[in-house]
Subunit: 180 residues, 2 copies
């Protein structure tokens, strides 16, 4: 199944609202604890989503449309958000993300993509040749990956508290699958 | 770490808003497709959450407080929602869940639990002796398990569409961990 632009945008537009509903003003038990050494907190995840929004998805879509396979996308620093989030509150990050997402969706709409555009190809610095359609689908999949991660980070804080129920709670068995 | 009632309630109160933000009026691509045979759609998950809200969490807390270990909780039918969701729209289910959750939280507040209550014990029909604290933590963990499942069900719909990006998207590697 190929991504459908309106379905993709419908999901992308919701993510800031989902994160607001889940995280804003939530006790820090849930938002400022991670899953152990070298793992992220919910705060870190929101910082990463902002960074990806500004440096990754739309900038790459524009490079693909402008240069095709002739120019590889700039590499994306997956830890690039740590410095940028310093000193900010989670509420500020949630506002920043909502603003950045809204701006990218405006830019995406302004591209006025036509059916023939989705097969256009670009060069990912590690994955090789990718299509615009794959990039747009991956943008939505990236939101879902981090929602998946957030539910897991939060569940981790109650791993001991649930006692024998952990057997029934799938999220407590999730090992993170490497990337997130 | 033992669950903290106000932290637990803070999370429980947010879940209906999270599901609304994520699912209401979302294209059916995301909400009425599952992960393959004998798996659930997002619609099914919301139905299950309603069913658990009415038949599982608060009813069991009350049995625990009234009878202690002397009376096991009634078994919970994890497929009990299928019949009850029939003919309803996802919007109706989201409304029902919000109403049921609000009612359970009112009942939970009305119990006026004191620190000494959290260690009180009850009898789970399969897991054996459990404490009230574990039950409350598991209620929150159950919300997170199904949020984890929802992100995975939705990501599954774009499994092919993302092409080579699937390597980087942890949710695409999630095998569901048995229970959800």
């Amino acid at each position: 199944m190929e991504q459908n632009l309106s379905h993709t945008m419908s999901l992308l537009a919701r993510t800031p609202h989902v994160l607001n509903a889940l995280l804003r003003d939530l006790p820090e038990t849930w938002t400022f604890r991670n899953e152990g050494e070298n793992t992220w907190t919910a705060f870190d995840v929101v910082g990463h989503l902002i960074h990806a929004e500004r440096e990754n998805w739309m900038p790459r879509a524009k490079i693909l449309l402008q240069f095709g396979e002739a120019q590889a996308f700039d590499p994306f620093d997956r830890a690039g958000h740590f410095r940028k989030s310093q000193g900010k509150s989670l509420g500020e990050l949630l506002d920043e993300f909502a603003f950045a997402r809204s701006k990218s969706l405006d830019e995406l709409r302004a591209l006025n993509l036509q059916p023939g555009d989705f097969g256009r190809r670009g060069q990912h610095p590690a994955l090789g040749v990718v299509t615009l359609s794959q990039l747009l689908a991956a943008w939505a999949g990236h939101d879902l990956t981090h929602l998946h991660q957030l539910s897991r980070i939060m569940a981790h804080q109650y791993r001991e508290s649930v006692g024998p129920w952990s057997t029934y709670l799938g999220v407590m068995q999730c090992a993170g699958h490497g990337s997130a």
